[in-house]
């Protein structure tokens, strides 16, 4: 037993899990508002991180300016995707919509490789202090900041959905499109807005991960790790997405611990969430907080 390692991995799990939670939230946002399962969520992280990297290195902008420009770019990016690709597919069967997002995913992944290359590139240093010690553990400053950012985004989402006019309109649309429309909510605008917000929030997560690990196409794997998280939490629950993300983050780190200490199978870190995913789908497909779909003829 290596308690220090276990503790370190648990902390890692919490931090990475919070990031999964953020990505899962933006995934659920799209699903709730427009019933689209977005397989290109990981590519949002990827595009956001690369664009920010480009602003910081090629344009030599200070971090805050580059970051703001990135967010602006991602807003436009999300809007354009929704209007150009997803809007014509409204009313098509689930498979078409899923395939469209998968197509978007491989398109942008290849495009990013073409423009920026395949090798991981580090961000220029942003924080003056590289590491701080918390309760005797060395933690990278970026990690702590990322935890803070994740919490901020979550609080922001909570405020948005309970107090703001647009958030309420979005919830109304998710509940019943026709009713929302009859009350004066512009459903196309809500769809577009949900994609823009989702792209922006994912990009924030992408920049955070990029600052920690460097930017590479491995970032888009976050978009796949999001599935265990959202299925565990329930596909249409924002709270569930956050919890699911944290649980999956802890799970993969604990699986890594188990593996490194006793099993020595290797690669459990990557694959454990998918075993969990299959189990959840078999036992409780609507997750912890999802709406159970009862069908009547």
């Amino acid at each position: 037993m290596d308690l220090a390692l276990l503790f370190q991995l648990t902390l890692n799990g919490l931090i990475v899990g919070a990031l999964y939670g953020v990505v899962a939230m933006s995934f659920v946002l799209i699903y709730k508002a427009s019933q689209v399962v977005n397989f290109a969520q990981g590519e949002f992280l990827l595009v956001g991180a690369w664009v920010c990297w480009w602003f910081l290195t090629d344009w030599q902008l200070p971090f805050w300016a580059g970051f703001l420009f990135t967010l602006a770019f991602m807003t436009v990016f999300g809007l354009v995707l929704q209007v150009v690709v997803l809007r014509p597919l409204i009313g098509e069967p689930v498979i078409s919509v899923i395939m469209a997002t998968i197509g978007l995913g491989i398109f942008f992944q290849a495009l990013m490789k073409w423009i920026f290359g395949v090798f991981a590139k580090p961000f220029p240093p942003i924080f003056p202090v590289e590491r701080v010690s918390v309760m005797g553990l060395e933690v990278q400053t970026v990690y702590l900041v990322s935890l803070g950012i994740s919490l901020l985004i979550m609080i922001g989402f909570a405020w948005f959905f309970t107090a703001s006019k647009h958030g309420l309109a979005m919830r109304a649309t998710a509940f019943d499109q026709q009713v929302a429309q009859s009350l004066g909510v512009s459903v196309p605008r809500v769809f577009a807005m949900s994609w823009a917000i989702s792209a922006v929030v994912s990009a924030v997560a992408g920049v955070v991960v990029g600052v920690v690990n460097g930017v590479s196409s491995a970032l888009s794997f976050y978009g796949i790790k999001v599935f265990p998280a959202v299925i565990l939490g329930g596909l249409d629950s924002v709270l569930g997405a956050v919890l699911g993300g944290i649980i999956i983050g802890l799970l993969e780190n604990w699986a890594h611990y188990l593996d490194s200490q006793w099993l020595n199978w290797g690669n459990m870190f990557q694959i454990a969430p998918f075993y969990a995913l299959v189990l959840i789908l078999l036992l409780k497909p609507y997750g912890l907080f999802g709406t159970k779909n009862i069908e009547r003829v």
């Binding site: 597919l89 469209a100 998968i102 197509g103 978007l104 290849a110 073409w114 199978w265 075993y275 299959v278």
Partner: protein, 357 residues
């Protein structure tokens, strides 16, 4: 998926046998025999490169047909088809090496093994549908990929596995010129098999599950049974395609069966046309030829200013991936019924010319 019938006025079917025939008109039968004869004669006038493209189209067509039975006819989604394709490839090589079963028997056996694996992973399919099933098969893709990398006895580990060519009565089908006949034989058998399946009670049950599963259940169709069955059939086709692939390349590597390959299969089905048997072959042809077109376009541009500006030369593989993604999206938006539908329109145009209205 509407079947546009182009029978001349006054030519009625009077028996059920005539109504369910696979090739309804004399011209379609002539076209079939002509097409088969052309492919059979292709080694006479094609080089090895063109033949290898034809072989790839055939192999991918078989696997895509399996996926089309699952996606197009039963309305289930699978994002793990390449993993099952891989199971077939490794199973055939493993059977031949460990038990010394002749290769011609290994290929169908590999199909059966893959079908069993597919049934195991398809077990969630009995309860799940739509996007939940899509996510379950996504998990299957990663779990199987991990298994391939781990199971040295089955896959040869990271080094991959060498396979033997198919031999029959001492004659080895180890070159493109001969292997094309093996692929042609399997394509004919598998496509006729699928066309016949769709005329049986089971095939119609699959379509009923797709069109309205609640009505289907009320009519006495066992949903769980048919959803799982469809998964098994799809895996069988993937397995046979994979086995043919393994004995064609004579080497199977662990990394080949990744998620991009799965997406390519889905792309074939979408581009060819959901729920169309011949469409699967058209989609496979499109997907196999698309990278070649991209390649030759890039070669045509090489050395020019555009090439230098966009660095096309070194990034051809990314351009191929982008072309695949863009093709899938373009077909979904502009031609959701796929190439099969477009082909029917072309046929209708010539049939009715010049009075098409």
């Amino acid at each position: 998926m509407a079947n546009v019938s182009l029978l001349p006025a006054g030519d009625y079917r009077t028996t059920y046998r005539a109504d369910t025939t696979i090739f309804p008109t004399r011209n379609s039968r002539i076209a079939l025999w002509l097409g088969l004869a052309l492919v059979a004669a292709s080694p006479l006038f094609f080089g090895r490169y063109e033949l290898s493209l034809l072989i790839n189209i055939g192999i991918m067509g078989i696997a895509a047909l399996g996926l089309n039975i699952l996606v197009g006819f039963t309305g289930q989604i699978s994002i793990g088809h390449a993993a099952f394709f891989g199971v077939g490839a490794f199973a055939s090589a493993w059977l031949h090496e460990s038990f010394h079963i002749p290769v011609w028997a290994c290929i169908p056996l590999a199909g059966v093994i893959t079908a069993v694996v597919g049934l195991v992973f398809g077990a969630p399919a009995a309860r799940l549908k739509g996007l939940y099933l899509a996510i379950a098969t996504l998990a299957a893709q990663f779990i199987l990929e991990d298994f391939f990398a781990r199971a040295r006895w089955f896959t040869g580990g990271v080094a991959g596995r060498l396979t033997e060519p198919l031999t029959l009565f001492g004659f080895a089908f180890d070159r493109e010129e001969t292997y094309i006949y093996v692929v042609l034989f399997f394509v004919v058998v598998m496509f006729l098999g699928a066309a016949n399946l769709m005329r049986t009670r089971d095939g119609r049950a699959l379509v009923a599950v797709r069109d309205h599963y609640l009505s289907a259940e009320i009519m006495g169709i066992n949903l769980a049974y048919y959803r799982t069955l469809s998964f098994g059939i799809a895996s069988l086709y993937a397995g046979i395609g994979g086995a043919l692939y393994a004995h064609y390349l004579m080497f199977v590597s662990v990394e080949a069966f990744n998620i991009l390959f799965s997406i390519q299969f889905l792309g074939m089905v979408i581009i060819g046309g959901l729920g169309s048997i011949m469409g699967s072959l058209m989609g496979a042809a499109f997907m196999v030829l698309l990278p070649e077109v991209v390649q030759s376009a890039a070669e045509a541009l090489s050395g020019s200013a555009i090439d230098r500006l966009l660095r096309i030369g070194g990034s051809i593989s990314y351009l191929r991936e982008m072309a695949i993604g863009a093709a899938i999206i373009a077909f979904l938006i502009f031609e959701p019924d796929g190439l099969a539908h477009r082909w029917r329109l072309v046929k209708a145009y010539w049939k009715l010319y010049p009075y098409s209205h």
